[in-house]
Assembly symmetry: C3
Homo-oligomer: 257 residues x 3
């Protein structure tokens, strides 16, 4: 069965998510719809990108991923369909694709889907769902509009090297209160060239990387590479971000010796 996933900031209490699902099922009865998350903070592209980037590779090739965050459409942010690594992505070209992908998409199409323009405020249901059903049915991207060569770029804070230090920021705080940084395992290894290092933030210093959350005693701070390959500050069975007062955008320094 074809799979369509949904990543939105539509929330869980309103009728919005179910309207999208009803519309999909009306067009394609035999489809599996999977919620990635509907609790993306309103209009937060960075969090949407982190969530979907780490979720989509778990799905089989051919899966269609709808992104319903910042969906307002304009000449500068048209609806697009994208193919990358055998997956399809549908959303507004508001910069999210540049945040999500490390490489250039295999194909980008600006969608020219017909819809009722008297009610322009629900493109996730009225445009993206249509395009997704077409792709899930095995239709081609090319049929949905005209090819284009690039997506809108959005600048993302990347870790910077300052002397013997690598400075990153906290880009995501999960529901366990783990603080995820934008420093990946690959980046740290490349910058470190085998040197020892300690991790500093606020008045804290961690001089050993853990492999699992249980490598330290309960309630103790630790740093590890999380399942997404990012350096993460956590606490064994504790709420790191809350207890250590860590927030989105805070600086984390890896100091090499």
């Amino acid at each position: 069965m074809a799979i369509i996933t949904l990543t939105t900031d539509l929330g869980l209490k309103d009728y919005y998510v179910s309207a999208v699902k009803g519309s999909i099922l009306s067009q394609l009865p035999d489809v599996t719809i999977v919620d990635i998350s509907h609790l993306i903070p309103s209009f937060n592209l960075q969090e949407a990108a982190y969530v979907l980037k780490n979720s989509f590779p778990n799905f089989p090739e051919g899966t269609v991923h709808i992104i319903g965050v910042n969906t307002e459409l304009s000449v500068n942010t048209p609806p697009v369909g994208i193919e990358l690594s055998g997956h399809f992505f549908i959303g507004a070209d508001n910069g999210i694709f540049s945040l999500m992908f490390d490489k250039v998409p295999d194909k980008i199409v600006e969608l020219s889907i017909q819809h009722d323009t008297s009610n322009p405020n629900f493109p996730t249901r009225d445009i993206f769902a249509k395009a997704a059903c077409h792709l899930a049915r095995g239709g081609t991207l090319e049929l949905l509009g005209s090819l284009k060569s690039s997506v809108n770029e959005r600048i993302l804070f990347r870790p910077v090297s300052v002397g013997d230090n690598l400075r990153g920021t906290i880009i995501y705080i999960d529901s366990y209160n783990n603080a995820v940084t934008n420093i990946t395992k690959n980046l740290l290894k490349e910058a470190g060239k085998g040197r020892n290092f300690s991790i500093r933030f606020g008045s804290h210093e961690i001089d050993k990387l853990s492999k699992t959350y249980q490598d330290v005693v309960e309630g103790e701070i630790l740093a590890l590479y999380n399942a997404a390959g990012h350096l993460e500050i956590a606490m064994n069975r504790g709420k790191a971000s809350q207890l250590l007062n860590l927030h989105m955008g805070d600086t984390i320094t890896v100091a090499f010796q």
Copy 2:
């Protein structure tokens, strides 16, 4: 595949919703179950009606919609099955159907489903799910009980005309903090007869209807017809109800010139 939807106040943390789904899947393995919302505020029929009314038309005909809000059954609020516009609805006849439908249902049946009366506190699982599976399998409403001619009425505050003003109230606040009124596009057009108007609430006045949320600059107040066709007070990328101190039941006045 047959579709059964669920609109309840059962919440997301407990075992209740999954018990209903398990019961459905035990009776009808090949069914698609869709959550409309389980975060209806406890016992709030008006919100349940707004949510389901705007969701169900997105689903294909033949879909069965279970309503698990205020499900206590009594002689005065018996379980019923309803057919309207090709959709089926199952719930307690507690007044919700009069809040949800603008027209008389095509068919109303008082359900006489057998169930274990020693445990009467979970009719959504023990009665509604059974009836829904029967209908989803293609069974008839008539087989589930005896026809009746009307449902219980519940009085809903409707907008009133006072001189050159139309006075409505806020009936729903969504997860973006948009404040939805009970003034629909149709009603406003009918009452306005082409005249200009301004929208007043508290100390605020909006004298232009926007078409989309982005018609004003970020952080500015606006009014528009939302995707459900209701007049809505919003803020471009802001939390209108919170910042403007708008609450359920507050008065909104449309003043015609």
Copy 3:
């Protein structure tokens, strides 16, 4: 279609739950995945056990239930697969199975699933999902590892008899603020031997068991056997635990006459 259920503390905002679902669908496209709950309080085995124990009997035999709470694996808490009453359960042997089952499982297998040990922090996706797909496909438990004779025991506070009193505790508070005790209908009947009784907690006393929530007037306290067969303190359309200041672990006394 095979059914796999998920009971976790992964929350709803992150990518974690969808990663598990993507992994399952990559291995077994024709499966129905049902969320039991992802809002188990972090690391809370007792709540996870209460939720899944009351949910799973609603599903058809052959259903596979994944438990993603306290999933850290060690020599003392290995991954296991369990068969009981025709259902399968997959999780870490951290004591949850002793909290959940009143009888000895029909079969217990310690799983020896191959996985990437460089990333050990997501066993629900990397180990449990694999085992679940094998079972959902009709594979045998025995093929997944070696049989063992018992699971880890965790001590649970059970109600105690003190003179003519039965003393229990509050083990769960649901989203309606109903306070569920560990005193079951069977236990109370056995201890009571037909005597009358009153239920005492804090400065409150209830001397009559209700059958439904509406047996008392709105806003009044009541006690009843809930749909799970546990003695529960509730309030008709009110929030009992909040208004009566009831918390997990509080004592409830049944005083027989």
